[in-house]
């Protein structure tokens, strides 16, 4: 199996892992971490497509590579905004979850 196919499988695996974390963690900061893992898996898919498109003396197709650079910067901007919202939510309510009332009662644990 070629190196890029191997990293493609890694991308597929971390997309599943990130999705699982996003769905099962009620803690918003954990959701944000899982979301970043998920997006890194999507970026790896772009990396595999870029590597497969190696031609004209280049190691990879520069167009998907440039798209991933843009995506990483935009993902950072989204994460920064989500963290600002989250810390503001915490300052106002003392809670860092978007869960419903049944999960909010976990405070007595």
């Amino acid at each position: 199996m070629s190196g890029e196919a191997l990293f493609g499988l890694v991308g597929a695996a971390v997309i599943g892992i990130g999705l699982f974390g996003l769905v099962t963690n009620a803690d918003a900061l954990r959701k944000l971490l899982a979301f970043n893992v998920l997006s890194s898996g999507v970026f790896l898919f772009f990396g595999v497509v870029a590597r497969r498109g190696a031609a004209a003396g280049l190691g990879g197709d520069p167009v998907p590579q440039a798209l991933v650079i843009t995506a990483i910067v935009v993902a950072f901007a989204a994460t920064a905004m989500a963290i600002a919202l989250l810390t503001r939510l915490f300052d106002r309510t003392g809670s860092a979850t978007l869960g419903d009332s049944s999960t909010d009662e976990g405070g007595d644990a």
Partner: protein
């Protein structure tokens, strides 16, 4: 064979780190895991011959995002604990997520062969841009509109963060407060690292035209140095309405737009460059963008304005 062993080890480590980030109970450990995960991904990007992406991932994906997340994990330490999802729900979620992964893995083996590629076109027209780095040519010539809009997205994100300012503290100082640890490692690093960091950032920006690197990566390194001296308390955190700050934020996108409109008159379309001066114009845009990116990333990481009294 050697490289395959290395790739397999890196692949297993990344999947294991991904799992650790999602399941480890302590959120601070998960964040530290995420930073290591970002560095492992950087190695994979180098293995995929995407050095520009590797530099971006190291600087932003692991570095700056990691700093934001660690800061947030510390702030939220006293948050009420959250109940975990019930075991049956977790089991069903795991099955469905595994199905998504398996389908995506199958897609990897069904990609068209020979792979479609824009690399020959990118190289063919490289001469006209005067650049040596095809990724920089995509970012600043072939798909310049994407890059311009991405800068606008960064400014919009910063506006959104600022709009979360506490009532009555606009304009104010971003919520980055120095822990005041004189004589600490932080103090030492903040005194000695920035001169090298700034030179390295400028070098990455300058070199980006012909080699991997560029405005994003250089700007991020400069932003990191700025944050370092602010966190160590050696430079005051600026108020968000200071004129020099506002000007640095918009300088890059503004020059980009002006050159873009000039292209309509001189070269026939928006963001087109006259072939004789393409490289000069792109370098001017890159230098202005490096300044703006450093300012916007630093301020995004510093957070919204907050009341003075809070620790």
């Amino acid at each position: 064979m050697m490289s395959f062993t290395f790739d397999t080890a890196a692949a297993l480590l990344i999947v294991a780190m991904g799992g650790w980030i999602v399941i480890v109970p302590d959120v601070t450990r998960a964040v530290i895991g995420f930073i290591v995960y970002g560095l492992m991904l950087t190695i994979v990007w180098v293995r995929l011959s995407a050095v520009d992406v590797a530099l971006t991932e190291a600087a932003i994906g692991g570095g700056l995002t990691g700093m934001l997340l660690i800061n947030a994990a510390g702030r939220l330490r006293s948050a009420r604990p959250v109940l975990r999802t019930d075991a049956p729900v977790r089991f069903i979620a795991a099955l469905l997520c595994a199905a998504v992964s398996v389908s995506l893995a199958a897609v990897i083996f069904m990609l068209p062969s020979p792979a479609p590629s824009l690399a020959p076109l990118a190289v063919e027209n490289l001469q006209q841009t005067g650049l040596g780095n095809p990724v920089a040519a995509v970012l600043f010539a072939y798909r310049a509109l994407d890059t311009l809009l991405e800068k606008v997205v960064l400014l919009l994100a910063l506006l959104s963060v600022w709009s979360l300012a506490t009532v009555g503290f606009w304009p104010g100082l971003p919520g980055l407060r120095p822990p005041a640890l004189a004589g600490s490692t932080l103090d030492f690093l903040a005194r000695h690292l920035p001169p090298y960091g700034i030179i390295f950032g400028v070098y990455m920006c300058w070199n980006g035209a012909s080699e991997p690197g560029g405005a994003f990566q250089g700007g991020t390194v400069i932003a990191a140095m700025w944050l370092l001296v602010m966190i160590a308390g050696m430079r005051r955190v600026p108020s968000i309405d200071e004129a020099w700050l506002r000007r640095s934020l918009v300088a890059g996108p503004a020059i980009f737009v002006v050159i873009g409109f000039a292209g309509m008159m001189v070269a026939g379309s928006f963001l087109a460059y006259p072939p004789d001066h393409a490289k000069l114009l792109i370098v001017v845009i890159e230098v202005a963008l490096t300044l703006s990116i450093a300012a916007v990333l630093g301020l995004l990481a510093a957070g919204p304005p907050v009341p003075e009294s809070r620790p």
